[in-house]
Amino acid sequence: MSVSQLLIGAVSLAAIAGLAVVPSLVDAYHLALGITLLQFTILATAWGLFSGPTRYVSLATTAFFGVGAYTVAVLGEQLPWPLVLTVAAVIGSVTSAIVGLSTLRLSGVHFVIFTFGLAELVKQLVVWFEVNKSRVLGRYIFLDITQQDIYWQLLALAVIVFAVGWLIARSRLGFALRIIGEDETVARHCGINVTFAKVALFVISAVFMTLVGAIMAPRWTYIEPSIAFNATISFEVVIMALLGGAHRVWGPALGAIPLTLLFEFLSARFPNTSTLIMGVVFLLIVYALPSGVVGLIEKIRQFRRGSAAQGSGT
């Protein structure tokens, strides 16, 4: 381990420790903001885990988030909390494995279309089940979980998602995904099980999204399908990850933090035009920053290196 790696490790530990004491220092409003920031940081990072290397644009975030939230609504009072989270993760992984196996063999466009409607599909199935089988629509969540608890759980999950991302990037799976991103045909001819790699990553990413939904659920005391499956989250997560740059593990977070603050500000100040402004932000990113903040940083670095090399050459 080199000195710089040790330094990065030490700084990260200090940052985690610093973030962990935040709830005891701030008021309820800022704690809520902190929770939202963590929520989108995890969602965007998890999105980037799958969509960054495979270049599949997934609009399914809400579907998994909602599955997590609804699992808590149904089971929250019947099982101990760690078990509820485990069940949510299992349901999320099974759902994503089914979706992945049936759609990831299709082309990228078909995948976008399918995920575009997935949240709506899952929502409709949940509504149908609640109306016809369990005969309740809308459930109350009374759990002994405070805002602080939610914050700490999300912080822990954020640490895990970064650690997992870091590990994947260094693993054989990560290498396989880089090759798939470059040329899927070559990947197959190198002996890579392309479908398995994609589905595995899709499932890992979806489990994080499901857990975020589950951890966030106690924030609402009342939950119904239209709250749990709010399509806007999928769109926001895509914008955030793209602004940051999805081809690096830490890229999406760089987009999630400023945009969460911006959206919070907009929805408080201009509640009626927030959709419109979100669209404009989206277009600015697509046209002006096609490879995100990370791409911009890398370009600047390359430019500096290039001009330095030129300087020494002449």
Binding site: H110, L121, T275, I277, G279
Partner: protein
């Protein structure tokens, strides 16, 4: 049974018409337009506005709204989407870029509609006269909408198969790389196809506003269904739109009548996946080599 089939046919005709516009935009101009449904809702609102504000008959409104949409879509492609087409190195890159750009566009159109009309549902009463067809009672406005959809679809089909420009458009859909070799101006035709798609979706929006309630945020559902129909039928294929649209409309109506109206989207997706698993390029798609 007859009623479910009739409802399904009318619905299917609408889906087919909506999908034809998208298949022009996606199959020819290579723009996967996620803001497509927003344009449908936009023209539905325009028709509502004309009818309630100035008592303009929606059928007359078509004469105003459709050309305006054509011009707006044409300019949109020229100014806003051409930079993406130029920037994209591969077809895949253009697909991703156009998805993201039209995504932003979707929010902008939706945002404008929301600031103008809020989130409430709108509808107006036009030709809501009951008529009897093969022993079943249907509203006149549905029948008129269906008839017009049939006329528009037929006209489009004839334009594409019987005219010189239509043949060129089909050539671009089949092989955009070789089309310039036979002196086809691909950028110009792409803009035209995109604009024609815009005009079609506008007409569909007017027709649908005559018999369905709509809100500023209902566009997404239409985009989704149009995409499903286009992909199911085979991208760029008009007959595919017709068959897949009818299939979707009929299955929705039958499931809503006999199983549960709350499962229509599930049916859409089941059909979509079922078709793609058997024929990955769609019902009328040319199989990948």
């Amino acid at each position: 049974m007859t009623n479910a089939v009739l409802t399904g046919l009318v619905l299917g005709g609408m889906y087919a018409l909506i999908a034809m516009g998208l298949t022009l935009q996606y199959g020819v101009a290579r723009i996967m337009n996620l803001a497509y449904g927003e344009f449908l809702i936009g023209s539905a609102f325009a028709s509502y506005f004309l009818f309630t504000g100035w008592a303009v008959n929606p059928l007359v409104g078509l004469i105003v709204i459709v050309p305006v949409s054509f011009v707006v879509s044409f300019l949109l492609y020229k100014i806003f989407l051409t930079p993406l087409v130029r920037r994209a190195r591969t077809r895949d890159a253009l697909e991703v870029d156009s998805i993201l750009a039209t995504f932003g566009l979707m929010f902008i159109v939706q945002g404008i509609l929301l600031t103008m009309f809020g989130g409430a549902y709108f509808s107006y009463s036009f030709l809501a006269i009951p008529v009897t067809v093969v022993g079943e009672v249907l509203a006149m406005n549905r029948l008129v909408a269906f008839a017009l959809a049939v006329v528009l679809g037929t006209v489009l089909y004839l334009l594409l198969t019987r005219t010189r420009i239509g043949t060129s458009i089909r050539a671009v859909a089949v092989d955009p790389a070789s089309a310039p070799l036979v002196a086809i101006n691909v950028p110009q035709l792409s803009a035209l196809a995109f604009a024609a798609g815009g005009a079609l979706v506008a007409s569909a929006g007017v027709l649908i506003s005559m018999f369905l309630t709509f809100s500023a945020t209902s566009g997404v559902v239409f985009t989704m269904k149009a995409l499903i129909v286009v992909v199911m039928g085979g991208i760029g294929n008009l007959m595919g739109c017709l068959v897949a649209g009818m299939l979707l409309g009929l299955s929705e109506a039958l499931v809503a009548t006999y199983i549960d109206p709350g499962l229509t989207i599930a049916v859409n997706f089941a059909l979509f996946l079922g078709v793609l698993l058997v024929r990955p390029a769609g019902i009328f798609g040319r199989g990948g080599r």
